[in-house]
Symmetry: C2
Subunit: 430 residues, 2 copies
């Protein structure tokens, strides 16, 4: 396809950018005027669009950042064999991410008529909307699928960046699974989150190929634990991001086996389809036994309040456990997993409908929701975090009747970059 019309003169654009660029400049101005996140927390909806999360720092954003309402996560495969091209891309990505997280375009909007613009402009005027952009490295950056050490990084692969085992019940689809590079964009606006990944993907044309991308959302009354599409509160038992010692223990990687990962984390992503039609037909009491919690209050079964302790020893008058043996909350509880905790930061997804063959009697063939959970968990070491917990859940969790793991990926998420540097510099330049 070629553009075979010569463009007529267009007096409007440059004038607009100079005179009318106020909306863009407003967001940029906030970034340099020292307005803090806290000062902006209680403002109007318009101002919510202007909230800015820092890009540079000891840790990357989007891990312990208060969870935004929308996300777009994506994984890319590296096509280039050149180490310097990977470095150049990461450098370009970091610079563009720093701009976009301040509400600025990925690149200049001032473009000659006969050139593609550096930004798709679909979020012009929307502000930063608390955008965070988080980068991660998959196993393929260190060792390609055919065993080659393409970038001279094989010796730097952290022991904690294991290939995930096959779990019981996994129904993984290749084009929703894996990836050499990971980008997670979270923002309080669906278009702002997608826009960020789209610009970054485009910068890599030639060097990378998108492997999968997925939009997500999270709705919750302010200050309360949000509910997932199953109607239950999700995240009650998360370690508190307000407690740095807990984050150091469970979330931030130690330098023990890979010094460049100090201050980073390991991230597991699972695309979990939920049979919502089926779930909605289940008795309320049964749903609560599946979770091990009361649905409306979020309290552990037998308790009154959401944050009441989960008492795994409680028994009813017949001696049966109040919180069932195969319930989600019991199987995933810290006490049953050698004290392990992971920081879940999941989003619901809703990709409309597809034609499916049902997995339960009478095995109808019909249109069903393609909706569920983009499970995202951060941890200091997946070998003591997600993997043993999910080994247990995948075998015993009664919730598995309603969930199918369709996609899966694991990434090393390096620490944040210093201004002027880029995410991953410690890996390539140590």
């Amino acid at each position: 396809m070629t553009n075979n019309q010569s463009p007529p003169s267009r007096p409007g654009r440059r004038g607009f950018l100079k005179a009318g660029g106020a909306a863009v400049a407003a967001g940029a101005g906030l970034a340099t005027s020292g307005v803090t996140h806290a000062a902006l927390t209680r403002t109007h909806a318009d101002d919510l669009q202007r909230q800015i999360e820092p890009f540079y720092g000891a840790h990357q954003g989007g891990v312990v950042t208060p969870q935004q309402s929308h996300s777009y996560v994506a994984a890319f495969d590296l096509k280039t064999d050149k180490r310097e091209e990977v470095i150049a891309l990461l450098r370009e990505w970091s610079q563009a991410a720093a701009r976009m997280t301040q509400g600025k375009p990925a690149g200049s909007l001032e473009t000659a008529d006969d050139k593609p613009a550096a930004d798709s402009a679909d979020v012009l005027g929307l502000g930063a909307s608390s955008l965070t952009i988080t980068f991660g490295f998959g196993p393929g950056l260190f060792t390609s699928r055919d065993g080659k050490d393409r970038y001279g990084l094989a010796s730097k692969r952290p022991a904690a960046l294991v290939d995930l085992p096959r779990f019981n019940g996994d129904q993984l689809i290749a084009e929703k699974t894996g990836g050499d590079l990971f980008v997670q964009a979270c923002a309080n606006d669906a278009q702002v989150a997608f826009h960020a990944v789209r610009q970054l993907a485009r910068m890599g044309y030639g060097a990378i190929q998108m492997r999968w991308g997925q939009a997500g959302f999270l709705s919750g009354p302010k200050g309360q634990t949000p509910r997932n599409l199953m109607g239950f509160k999700d995240g009650t038992n998360n370690p508190s991001t307000a407690k740095p010692p807990l984050m150091n223990q469970f979330v931030w990687a130690s330098a023990a086996d890979a010094p460049w990962m100090q201050g980073g984390t390991y991230t597991v992503v699972r695309r979990i389809r939920i049979t919502l039609e089926h779930w909605d037909q289940m008795e309320l009491g049964f749903q609560e036994q599946v979770f091990g919690r009361h649905k409306y209050s979020g309290a552990p079964i037998g308790q009154k309040n959401e944050f009441d302790a989960v008492d795994l020893k409680a028994a009813d008058k017949d001696g049966n456990p109040v919180i069932p043996d195969n319930s989600h909350v019991r199987l995933s509880n810290q006490a049953n997993n050698a004290g392990a905790q992971i920081l879940r930061r999941s989003y619901s997804y809703n990709d409309g409908t597809n034609f499916y063959i049902e997995r339960w009697p009478p095995w109808r063939q019909e249109t069903e929701y393609d909706a569920g959970l983009i499970f995202i968990a951060h941890q200091a070491d997946p070998r003591t975090g997600f993997i043993p917990i999910n080994e247990k859940l995948s075998k015993f969790d009664v919730m598995n009747q309603f969930t199918t793991h369709i996609g899966s990926a694991i990434f090393a998420v390096p620490p944040g970059a210093r201004e002027g540097s880029y995410v991953g510099a410690g890996l390539f330049e140590a």
Copy 2:
């Protein structure tokens, strides 16, 4: 699947509903206290969740209602052959829609342990979030695909409810096309919109089968025309919903050929996939020629401001039209379509990625965005509205290089219901 565990005693739930139901009650209170939409427009984000749009009235909501930020649209096929079952469903739907648009659950949350709850509870505490629910009737309600008059309604089919013709370039997928019943839910929250359709779908289990469902979103700076994923403002030339004469002329159906449709409208839905990767590589000047508008300002080419008149006669110094002959804005302009106007109320969609075969050289096979536009247009008569306009666009619009129509449907959207009645009563009871 059966529930083979007897539920233990659960002291938490009823107490929670009585004591802790304040969040739900708050939304309900607003509905009866006479707080108007205008009074609530400039409030805090928390209050945005509590905004309520009326369900009952002369017109259904979601047509001229200021566009909310999220939507879920769905179509259903009728499986029942019984007229009274259709009426019962529409009655139940209207009552549930009235409740949900006030921020209440679809049905009571007070449920016995051994019964499914009447609501999935995933939006508990989120408030109405300006939810509107709009119902429509497809051709199949009047004449089934095998020509039967299942419900005795064939003689009531409005002449304006035509079967859409095949348009040039259509690549329609059966399971994204058509449908006997239509539900559009729009809200300022993704989960609230989906929740509404999900509850209604479940009420119809047995009598209906979902045909397709689709989530959408719309991001825009407050008070400005929002941009679609192509980065251009979308809706600039819409007839103003603030001008009732324009709405009467172009949007609301007249009673001429179907008295029960007076105050209703005809709605066309098209799922239009956009090749965003390809579009992003196009020169800025070429993109502007495709639309016939400047990208950043939204002004017609050659003009300065978004709302400057589209001057189709303007020519450059060589005598060539300033707004190209095959541009979107020229072909769809009222002046080129016998004065026809339609009210577009579209949403972007983003269903992640799929593996595709490209439609342009070098015909790569790769993962691409499954994203684009859920085009939704309301009009007094599609025979003078969408159909002739799209006949022209589908043949000549240069934008077709970047868009593919995947899904299509047409519905008669009846007028609003009086309180105590239901949407469609005029059709069944006249």
